[in-house]
Symmetry: C2
Subunit: 335 residues, 2 copies
Amino acid sequence: MKETLSSIAARTGFSVTTISRVLSGNAEKHRISKETIEKVLKDAREHNYSPSLVAQSLRTNKTNTIGLLLPSIANPYFADVASVVISEVHRRGFTAIVIDTMEDEKNFNDSASLLLSRRVDGIIAVPCGTDCTLIESINDNYLPVVLIDRYYDNSHLSFVTTNNHKGGLMATRHLIGMGHKKIACIQGTITSNPSKERVRGYREAMTEAGFDEHIRIVGNEFSIQNGYLETKLLLESANPPTAIFTLSNTITLGALKAIREAALKIPEDISIISFDNYTYMDFLEPPVTRIGQPTEDMAKLAIKILFDRIESVPNSTSQLKLSPSLIAGESIKGI
Amino acid sequence: MKETLSSIAARTGFSVTTISRVLSGNAEKHRISKETIEKVLKDAREHNYSPSLVAQSLRTNKTNTIGLLLPSIANPYFADVASVVISEVHRRGFTAIVIDTMEDEKNFNDSASLLLSRRVDGIIAVPCGTDCTLIESINDNYLPVVLIDRYYDNSHLSFVTTNNHKGGLMATRHLIGMGHKKIACIQGTITSNPSKERVRGYREAMTEAGFDEHIRIVGNEFSIQNGYLETKLLLESANPPTAIFTLSNTITLGALKAIREAALKIPEDISIISFDNYTYMDFLEPPVTRIGQPTEDMAKLAIKILFDRIESVPNSTSQLKLSPSLIAGESIKGI
DNA sequence: CTTTTTTGCGAAAACGATTGCACGAAATTC
DNA sequence: GAATTTCGTGCAATCGTTTTCGCAAAAAAG
């Protein structure tokens, strides 16, 4: 029932060494005879031997495993990231350990330590919070780390993210181009870099258009509820905006709900532009105009950077910002 | 840089045995003195020792790891499952290895073997294909397996799934109750149990209403494209249905696209009822009426069954079918 | 002042693989 | 026929833990 190299050795009469060489495909290298190879393979097959990767890992100091740290797998955006990362590492013969940190900094740090204990060969993470000391020390002293989507200011950790500032600019300029002035912005987790950068782009676009007085930034979380509540407040305020820039797909959903409850029509009564691309966005009525992030490219690039560092030692830093793109829907009215 | 029990032993002057006992919390049990404990803990902390879970696993023959096999993480339904499973096992001190089998039987079997080699303590799987010999043998000889969503006929493997037959019945009867007769059904992967059972429910409801002549089953895959193509064909056929029963959220999306392209209105021109509950469903225009599966309950139950078997030996079988529920939208017109 | 009990700790054998070194026999070269 | 090379294989150490025994010294009991 429990097959090991030595049980095969016992049966075939060869040494554990020889069995190991044959089964790990190094037979030629050590000129094991054809017949021996055959016998060993046959026995292994018959007793369906399954090599212990944990013993292998201990010996070789390599687990062929990478860790993936995400703030919330329930969020379609991160689920997308997970999907790409998982298949990409699988393609390279690695397996992925996935942990949901629930948008909590302590969870994040504990999980990072856990991955370290598990001796993964690398970590892909969307970090939480603002303190990067632990993850940075892991990267510097133990194993390569590459961040996706979010990153830390003043850190040399490698990351791949969307150019969120540009995205914020694009979205806001687009609304302005369509004649809007009173544009509100519902932001996400305030400490997160993507949210901050998108807001910065929004601000910049408003200022360059001379709309400083109309700048209106609300909200504090990447969640449906946040989008819902803030939109409700905006709509019922004294001077409601003619357009809303929602900083994530979840916020957008909440906004849609509030708008529907107010019996308003998009885009006739109010315009909306969102962040994040997602299949469902095209199926909403109307399809929502949005700034799409190159999720797949981001994930693949992050993986590539990670494996470059896993395979060769140089502890280099690459910090990449990929351009987002505007995907036209029908949620904006020209004024 | 590389901290081990013996490096701590060397520094503190105690034996590896003692260090192990202190750090694994078994100090009391072996009446290690207060001072010794203090010294060891201090040294470990100062050199931030991180125990090697791989060495631990080798020694104890337990990895505290479970494997999760999914056909497509990009599908929101399975992403939901993943989300629950991952956090649930984490809560129990385990980590999850996730593999996307891409709806391919060979991939599925290879991945199952990989998990075996990785010596996971249990497997949660949504299987692909119809041949269960490998996974069954894994369950019988090596480690507990619990299936979610799909299962094999004539297998003693444990599973938790939705009562899909009932779901099919509910959906079809609902349409019939609203006055529909010409009801078409777009199915998913034909070999999969959920699709088969839903179709069986559809058939049964049609027959009991005396609508045998209107039974019309098309499609062959759980995908957007399948939904799109089949709906196109249905709409352009000689005698188009007044209502469509789509067997998954992905199929529904495709159907919506085709319906929109045909410039038809839901529910005025055509009614639709879907399977799978999903946040976005409420935000479509109109909100789609659907049969919701108790995804979270399913995943939690599967985990519970799995851990019962991990923690105590009895190789029992539990095969559970949970009731779905009808979630009202506005996508069905009464005739 | 023995004998027994308690206290505090260590030696060494696993767990299942990989790998550097070595070695005897057969084949080849000179 | 001696020296060298090639073949085919094995010994034993090692990776970092846990765990079974066991043992000496101190404390308690007699």
